[in-house]
Amino acid sequence: HLATSLPLPSERDHLRPRIDLVVFMIDIKSKYSLKNVETSLAYVDASFFLGKVCFLVTGVGRVNACSIEMNAICKLGETYCSPVLFCELELEGIRVATAQRLVRMLGICAGHIPGVSALSFVSLMRMSDDD
């Protein structure tokens, strides 16, 4: 399910399936996309931040078109304890690999992988912080 911002329209709440993973997409060429994500984050229930949220930064192939400072994005990931993935949608190989990663993450978040839960992502983040 794709949405340009949050909150989702309440009219369809009863029809909506359970949400297992929220991926916030930030286009490095658009400052607006970062602002949009920051505003939308406020509408996400706190329980999602236990591994069911991730940030996907797109457009990283074009460093020269950068409108967002990298520090701001890393700080966002740290503040919300969620992983930050980088990709370049214009390159098919990277696009496919990123999609596969997201599907794997989704499988874990939905509880389809025995022995691994969304909380694993949080502890992975914590470990790299301590390094």
Binding site: K29, S30, Y32, K35, V63, C66, S67, I68
Partner: protein, 288 residues
Amino acid sequence: EKADPQKTAFLLRKAWTLYSVTPLYGFRRARLRDYARLLGAFIAAEKQKGLAVEVGVELDIKVALSSLAELRGSELDQAALLVQLSSRSRASSRNSEDKPVWLGWFCSVFGDDLSENVPEHFTCLPLFLSHGAESYTSLVGSWFQKTFDCCFRRLAISPLNLSWMVAMWAGCKLDRAASAVELLFSVPRLSQPLDISYAIHPEDAKALWDTVQKTPGEITQEEVDVFMDCLYAHFHRHFKIHLSAAKLVKVSTAVVSAHCDGIVKILHGQYLPGVLMLLTELAISQIQ
């Protein structure tokens, strides 16, 4: 370092194409005359080969290399290196004036980040600016690359860095009436390309920047963000367009105008060192 305004006046009000250059190996200041001769011979040879710059025009290209000690940030920087190409038509008399045809210069203004880590025999002049035909630029560039084992790359300026330039110099106090601060945006992903030009009265820009900047002489990323966000918010209020979703392509202030393709024009000599310092930093980060 106060540069003599006369010596650097020729740099102003010209459109310079920017390049980053890796350190030059085996460059010796004492040999400038030799280098000029060799470069001149190289250019003549390339023209003979048929890689002529202008077909059918009989032109002798004369090369002059000189140092400009005034153009540097500190004593740790190398003095700037100037390359001038001038032409003398063979048809005219021997005493006719040489016509300047192309101008390029290498410089480093507070480029310590690069020069302090570089081994012996390397000369650091990371910023290269050229004015004139692209064909001459590529001839001169090839010769330098072959002779000093260095690498030239076009220096692009990201929207992030263009925003810094606006914030740094929109609020500058200038003696004469300052020109408007202009931001040019290009809107992506439309069937017809759309450019948006946003002009701000220099007094308003300065007033806004003065409320944002906390410590005079110091600028932080947050202050630049707040400044730009105010400009975007103002535009959105009037036109319902989010400029932050568009690509900032060109900025113009009274001090400097810069295009994301790496083309700058410096308009005021007083801020020349400051502009060159920022451009040197951009060149160094492209190299590293």
